[in-house]
Structures are given as structure tokens and as C-alpha cells.
Symmetry: C2
Subunit: 224 residues, 2 copies
């Protein structure tokens, strides 16, 4: 019964991708915690997770390539495996963004902690929800939920722009905190990039479920 | 003779990817020119090219998916098609970086042009060379050339770090030019990201040519 075996392999592939997603999410939340608390041991932890992510990325890709080469899947299964390969790449890049944030946290530690008129924790929380929704939409083959992720991305873009405008003002008024303000601007951009990766994942889920290419076609009207 | 037809389709796929690469490279060089000259008509041009890139990305993906579904290629051809799908994504993201640079150029135009102690044209030139080498390594199935791209990436990372350190100093000394300095910092980061995409392309070429996964394994020692 080779096809039953094939379905089992698809489930195993999905499980591997979920483990990869968990690592990326954990790296992101720890890197933000490092930035917000100044606890540098968390930066080391992020670095370890990044190594695990890189291994997991290779494993997922190899498994997907093996399935393509040996099973020559058709239609919906083919689209699923191609989506997994792309989602895998986005999860790895979320790990990269977390590493960037951890680096900012580290470079911040020699400067006085100051209070800035922006809300990174809120932004981080929203981006975390986007990733969770994107992964859940994959698990449940839920294109509607994936579309919701695309809508949330607009909100993060707005938040990132607002952060930047606020902090430019801070820099001009208080040049001595330029480093801290720049760190916050760059972390905000890292979060905005992370949201883009969640959006890519959601688009891939829609591609898999609906079989149509949603990229560059989505508008708010479709989401409602 | 279906296999001859298949080889022709692979050549057509490569040609489509090359057209996509040309668009991405053009978008990047025009966006930098817009930033350096202040010619805003170039920003409109970048926007048009970005639309063309998005269309080209879909075309390449559809053609690759069709080949996978209908021809069920094996071994080296399978790896080539999977590499094309990944390279396609990286080229599209180079287009996104160009769009970001063009946006910076536009936001810059209401501020006095100032001279900053950094060399964005040189950095842009080097990143352009990286993209060209990455694409050439694909055309010529040249893994050695692709490895050279991986080495160049380290240089761009160093340049980006130096730009940032220089411009933080500028911001602290001259807060009134914080906006211009921040724009330059972000453009430098956009170039660094672009170099990362060129690196991804080179890694995919190595994967295709050598059949091994070079990602996260590369060290300078191997390149020499």
C-alpha cells in the first residue's frame, strides 16, 4: 500500500514543519524578552535555537525533496509539498529576524535604559498572533484564517511607520539617546519583516488550499 | 520525443528566470540612482518595474509547477526546478528592497541634501556585482563562482556595520540631520538584505550543481 505510506510521510513532513515553526516562534519571543528585560542569557538561548532552526530547515527540505523525487505526487499533494518548502524558508527567516533582535538587545546593554514613546511589546504580541494564525491556517487548511493574516499585516506596517516617525523626533530632540532610538527603529523593522514572513506563509496556505496564486492579487475587499 | 520537449521547457524556464533577474537588477540600480540624484521620476519607474516583477514571479512559479506536475522530473532536473522556485522568490524580494530604497529616496526629497561620511554608491556597486555573479553562476552551472558570492557577502555585512556606527555618531553630533542619516542607515540595511538574497541564490546554485545542501555549512575554508 505505497499510497498509505505516502500519506504518512506527508503527515510526518507537516509535523517536522510544525516543530520548525515552534522553534522560530520561540526564538522571536525570547529575543524580544532579551531586548525588553536586558537579560543577556536569553541572547545565548536565541543563538542556540537559531542553530536548531538551521538544522530543522535542512531536514524539512530534504524530506520534501525526497517525497518529490520518489513519490512524484500530483495536484493537491504537489502543491502542499511546494508550500512546505516555501514556508520552511520563511520560518528560517523569522529565526534570522529573531537573531537580529537579539543582537540589538546585546548592543543595547552598554547604554542606559530609557523609556521611549512606542510600544514594542504590543507590536511583538501582534506579530506573534500573525505567526500563530498562519501556522494554524496551515494545520486546518483554513484559507479564511490565512486571509485574516494578510489584513493584520497592514496594521503592522502602520505601526512600524508610526514608530519611525516618533523616534526620529526623539533623536532630534535628544541626540544622546540616538543609539537607543535607532535600536528601537530597527527592532520595529525586524518585527515588520517578521510579519511579512507570516504573510508569505498565509499566502502559501491559500495557494495550497485554493490552488490559486493569491500573491500580489489580494485586496481588503476579498478578505471581507 | 517528449523528453526533448521537456529540455526545451527547462530552457524556457531559465530564460523566464533571467528576465526576472534583469528586472530586479534594474529596479535596484534605478532606486539607488533616485536616492543619489533626487530624480523622483525614477521612483515611479521603480514602481512600474515592481509590478512587472510581481507578474514575472507568478509566471515563473506557474511554469515550474506545471513542469513538476506534468513531467515528474528526476534528480538533477528536479533540483534545478526547485532551485528556480527559490531563486524566483529571492529575486522578487530584491525587487522589494529596491522599492524600499525608492520610498526612502522619496521621503528624502523634502530635506536638504547633505554629504555623509559613507559610500552608498560603492556598496550598491558591490551588491550589484554579487547579483550578477549569482545569476552568472546559475547560467554557467558554476559552483565556484557561486561560492565567491558567499565570500563577498561578508564584506557587505562589514560595510553595513561600519555605515551604522558612522551615522550614529553623525546623529549625535548633528541631530538636525537625523532623518537623512536614518535614511542612509536603512538604505544600507536594504543593500545588506539584497546581498543576503544574492547569497541565497548562490547557495541554491551550489545545491543544484553539487546536489548537496550548502546552507549553514559554508565556511571561508571551503571557498579557497
Amino acid at each position: 500500500m505505497p499510497r498509505i505510506n505516502f500519506q504518512q510521510q506527508l503527515v510526518a513532513l507537516k509535523d517536522k514543519l510544525l516543530a520548525m515553526a515552534a522553534l522560530s516562534q520561540q526564538a522571536l519571543s525570547l529575543s524580544l524578552e532579551a531586548y525588553l528585560t536586558g537579560d543577556m542569557s536569553l541572547c545565548d538561548h536565541v543563538k542556540e535555537i537559531e542553530a536548531a532552526i538551521n538544522t530543522a530547515e535542512r531536514d524539512v527540505d530534504e524530506m520534501a525533496y525526497d517525497l518529490l523525487a520518489k513519490e512524484q505526487p500530483m495536484a493537491i499533494d504537489l502543491r502542499f509539498i511546494l508550500s512546505v518548502i516555501k514556508i520552511n524558508g520563511d520560518l528560517e527567516r523569522i529565526g534570522d529576524q529573531a537573531t537580529n533582535i537579539a543582537e540589538r538587545a546585546r548592543s543595547q546593554k552598554d547604554f542606559p535604559q530609557i523609556s521611549l514613546p512606542i510600544d514594542i511589546p504590543d507590536m511583538g504580541e501582534k506579530v506573534g498572533v500573525m505567526i500563530r494564525c498562519a501556522i494554524q491556517s496551515l494545520l486546518e487548511a483554513d484559507a479564511k484564517l490565512a486571509e485574516h493574516v494578510l489584513v493584520m499585516d497592514d496594521e503592522i506596517d502602520d505601526m512600524n511607520r508610526a514608530v519611525q516617525a516618533e523616534l526620529i523626533e526623539v533623536m532630534m530632540q535628544h541626540p544622546m539617546v540616538s543609539t537607543q532610538a535607532l535600536n528601537a527603529i530597527i527592532i520595529s523593522r525586524n518585527l515588520e519583516r517578521t510579519a511579512d514572513h507570516a504573510t508569505n506563509i498565509a499566502e502559501d496556505v491559500i495557494f495550497w488550499v485554493r490552488g490559486s496564486d493569491v500573491r500580489h492579487k489580494f485586496s481588503l475587499a476579498q478578505a471581507e
